[in-house]
Symmetry: C2
Subunit: 233 residues, 2 copies
DNA sequence: GTCGACTTTATGTCTGCACATAATAATCCA
DNA sequence: TGGATTATTATGTGCAGACATAAAGTCGAC
């Protein structure tokens, strides 16, 4: 067996990845325990542990106490997706960022929203509609409901100057959230806001946030036609 | 200052998260260095380091040598998205999984594909079209091109029995890949395959994989109307 | 004053050791 | 034989100490 001199845990990670990719350790294969690997690599077990844990986080390895470590049968299931901050995303593309508040008002929330916000049916919530512009053109249409039981102060915020998202980030902490991606047909209202044809396919990102058990907000971001959200593995 | 007895790095992570959420450390705020935190928490610096690193990985903190650690201005940008294995996704929903090969043949690849596969324009590639069924109904339509310069053996694979994805996972290792999500209008061909109306909005996942500098495959998965890809933060 | 070289500092990582924990394997007893 | 108890084992985590490294700050030469 070839001696593999390793310096850092990243080097070990790379070597393990290489062995997986070259099928030295095919999917499903058990790999030697940390102590043996540490001996082989000439380093401390802690270092091996760190490398393997990182790979397990990525979903490349599956580890169980006592059972040991094995190569995941379905590699590459987990991807780190950076949810772009709209402003940054636009500015990085070189276009100027613009923001336009369409309206913000307290309204009786539709049943689906009351359900999502966990408020009694018919409760009022704060509705915010806004447009994010790239180079003066509509880029994302934002449709948001804010739970005024959790965040009453939003009603006094000047959302024409600061986007609801930025305001919430600074004023309403949250502990967990959900995200979903879907495709949706542009109806007349959406088409008008995004100045695109009715019937276009829009990429939709829906986000809900909670602070503990309290629901904060629920937002839908409709991206203009042709938008792609990209990431790499 | 209140003494915070901490047991594990997860507890420290939780405490730091709490301080961020409650604005004790607002966005942009510098936090004490690891040594001071270790003293405060009554643990080793290693333990603090681990907690903070985990938070930095999540995008909650920004760390730079010498500069120190600060609360990220734009929290929660990074999300771990588990790309569902179609078969598992369907089986988990309780529906039976079905797979149907539509066709697999060597064809001159369109320019966009040659470009993506990094082969000379007009080169032939292996085209695979297939359908994944949930409970007998079309769920995902898969349109794939495989680089036969990198993976010639795919031409002899029996893709009626094993999906191209599974075959590739077992036979063609890759070192990196790209993913993109978008929304697309169902044209006649797509509508026919997915038995949905022409003009439906389809969620589209496009994946490209490479082994080193060699391109392996490029696939598009078209999900039926109404599909949502979900994750939580 | 400006540019480089040196110092300082906070994080990054490694080591060796110890003990905790989960899950399997082995054993024991009814 | 079968079910519960105990041992074994691989990973999970903690600690103290050391050195590495990047980057900000400082100081000196010109």
């Amino acid at each position: 067996m070839t001696k593999t001199p390793a310096k850092s845990w990243q080097a070990i990670q790379a070597e393990v990845t290489r062995r997986i990719n070259t099928r030295i350790w095919p999917p499903g294969e058990m790999l030697p325990n940390e102590i043996d690997l540490a001996v082989e690599f000439g380093c401390a077990r802690t270092t091996v542990n760190r490398a393997l844990q990182a790979l397990a986080d990525k979903g490349v390895l599956e580890r169980r106490r006592k059972a040991g470590t094995r190569v995941a049968l379905n590699p590459v299931r987990k991807v780190v997706l950076s949810i772009p901050i709209i402003r940054e995303e636009i500015e990085q593309s070189g276009a100027g960022y613009g923001y336009q508040l369409i309206n913000a008002q307290k309204l009786p929330a539709p049943p689906a929203i009351c359900d999502a916000l966990q408020t009694p049916a018919g409760t009022k919530a704060y509705s915010v509609k806004a447009l994010h512009l790239a180079g003066g053109k509509p880029f994302v249409f934002e449709e948001r409901w804010v739970n005024i039981l959790s965040v009453p102060t939003i009603q006094t915020a000047d959302l024409a100057k600061m986007s609801a998202n930025e305001w919430l980030v600074q004023n309403a902490p949250f502990s967990r959230g959900t995200l979903s991606f879907s495709a949706i047909i542009a109806d007349e209202a959406l088409a008008k806001h995004l100045t695109c044809p009715v019937g276009s396919a829009l990429f939709c990102l829906e986000r809900g946030t909670w602070n503990g058990e309290q629901s904060i907000t629920r937002a839908r971001l409709y991206y203009g036609p042709g938008y792609k959200m990209e990431t790499s593995i």
